[in-house]
Amino acid sequence: MNNYLSYHRLKLILLLVLTAVLFIITSYSFEVKPAESRHMLDIIGEGGMCLCLFIWITIFLAVRPASLVTNLVYTGLLLLYLASLQDLSDEYFFINGYLTLTKAVESLPMIFGMVALTVGLFFWHREQKIFNSTIERKEKLLREPKWIDTATDLYNTNYLISQLNDLNKADVNSCVMVVDIAGYDSICNSYGLNKSLKLVRDVSKLIEIQIPHNSLICRSAGETILILLTGKSTQEANKLFGKIKDSIRDIDYFLNVDSKMQINLTFSAIDTSQIDLSLSKSELIKKLLTHNTQYQSEAV
């Protein structure tokens, strides 16, 4: 779990300063009660509440990043803490005169604190609902981890092969496009793996919006993206790739704030009828990648 306490230094300082100020004002203004006049049950009850609120505030700040919810709940808890602290102080001091300020400090923060806490909890609930919807989307992916490439959240080659088998049973003519990002290795060397994986994800998104909805896009290894185009021939795939390549080449892709690049893609396509599905999974992948390598060297 992340510790966010260092991000809330001011809030912690405010908590300690207000505690100290309240104690100093009370001890200067009122006479201290002798030990025999104190009620131990009240001290334990009110003191325990004060201590709990202090611990709540500290733990809450430690686990929450700065946000509207954090500010509201902190304000609510702080006001409740101050009210209970003032309530506790009459167990140690004779607060007979009832200064207006003292009375106000004991009564008003309680209600304002409760209001702030209620609003904070409402926003917290809304925040949680948004998180839940995101998790639900991710959960769909996590249900079948063997089909997902963890680095990019795209499907992996295992899923492609299972789909190829299904298509073969349904006797649908299709083709597999093998797309590579030119110069990926040097990008990885210059910008690191994080940026390179982001590039693969972004390129796959750009491809995804330009291919028919019944297509499947997945990552094989490194920068190699495999696309299963259902019901398309290799000629159609060639045309489609030409369009995709041109559209992506025209984009200024920013890897850093100040360094933009053009993305060049290389491509090969193989008709699924040419793929012998009786081969083992590794042989199938080998065939697809070998076909791509041969196609690229012929193109050169």
Partner: protein
């Protein structure tokens, strides 16, 4: 007495001696693992290494720390396919030691392989690289310098990926090589095919990269002799600064290879060779999580395969050279070592 002890301890690298630069493979592994979203505290837990030290550079670590880091990666990133291959490939360019530049300026494949052999410990100090060659091929054989146990697959594959990348820097493109891997065929091979090439044999006795001779015509290479000399002197200067003596396992391999013909390879003889007592040697091996018998078997199987395949000796001659009186005993031992029969290795 103390100087004698010091002399003896300097004969080999201890498992927990921090003498390896935490650079190249180590830092790339940390970098890549962090890129896959692992927390740096988890990644470096039990390694006694701090992320800040790695960022400032120049830190040293022991084989033990290397292995613990790989264990952590295997534990937290077990579902990332091909991480070791990516790390192996990209660590070559992220070495601050100019080995990649030096190899790219070599004039012949022979020179490139010789250079790699000379400085291979800069790439990954956990493995030994043995270069054997015949008229047609170079055989780059990898063996463990320290007992790697469950981390061995990770380390072997990453080293093979580094070697492949280094040689592609020399040749200008991927040199078509054949790979023999000791691991069984994994479920997902895409990354292996992508990084090492299509010619991979699994469940092999050893981890070997086989490179055909004359892959790169020397006339096609445009290299700079000045650059080569400069990078060579830089590598040599670094090599002098970093003490990289052989490991205990390497010493035992050497002892077995020297003495197995005379059948004088008992634990006592080995302890005497290393100027250690029998119990001290056993204690050191147990600290390395390895037994003397395991090292003995590996050395003898390696030697027998070399003699059968490369030197083209008969089974009788090989058995005799390895100190076996009986051919049947040799066959039985050979099958135990390699899961194959000697004739499988005859050309």
């Amino acid at each position: 007495m103390s100087s004698y002890r010091q002399l003896r301890s300097n004969l080999y690298v201890e498992y927990d001696a921090p003498v390896f630069l935490a650079d190249g493979f180590f830092t790339t592994l940390v970098d890549f693992s962090l890129a896959y979203g692992i927390n740096d505290n988890k990644l470096l837990s039990n390694t006694a290494i701090f992320y800040e030290d790695l960022k400032s550079g120049g830190s040293f670590c022991s084989a033990n720390q290397y292995i613990q880091l790989i264990r952590n990666v295997n534990q937290y990133l077990y579902n990332i396919d091909g991480l070791e291959l990516e790390v192996g490939k990209f660590s070559v360019n992220q070495l601050y030691i100019p080995l990649a530049n030096l190899v790219s300026h070599c004039q012949s494949l022979d020179e490139a392989i010789g250079t790699i052999k000379k400085f291979y410990l800069f790439i990954n100090p956990l493995l030994s690289l043995h270069v054997i060659s015949d008229n047609d091929f170079y055989y780059l054989l990898l063996t463990e310098r320290f007992s790697l146990s469950e981390s061995s697959k990770f380390v072997f594959k990453s080293m093979l990926s580094s070697l492949s990348e280094l040689l592609s820097l020399f040749g200008g493109e991927i040199i078509q090589s054949r790979f023999y891997l000791s691991e069984s065929e994994p479920d997902e091979c895409s990354n292996l095919y992508k990084r090492l090439g299509m010619d991979i044999t699994f469940s092999s006795s050893f981890n070997v990269m086989v490179i055909p001779r004359m892959q790169v015509a020397s006339s096609d290479k445009h290299t700079s002799a000045i650059a080569y000399k400069r990078y060579l002197s830089e590598c040599e200067a670094i090599s002098k600064k970093i003490i990289l003596p052989p490991s205990l396992i390497e010493h035992i391999h050497e002892f077995v290879i020297k003495n197995c013909g005379e059948n004088n390879i008992s634990l006592e003889a080995c302890a005497k060779y290393l100027s250690l007592s029998r119990s001290a040697l056993k204690r050191k091996l147990s600290k390395n999580s390895i037994t003397y018998q395991a090292i003995l078997d590996e050395s003898r199987s390696l030697l027998s395969i070399k003699q059968l395949y490369l030197d083209e000796l008969t089974v009788d001659e090989t058995a005799h050279n390895l100190g076996f009186n009986d051919k049947t005993n040799f066959r039985r031992s050979f099958k135990r070592w390699t899961k194959k029969i000697p004739s499988d290795f005859r050309r």
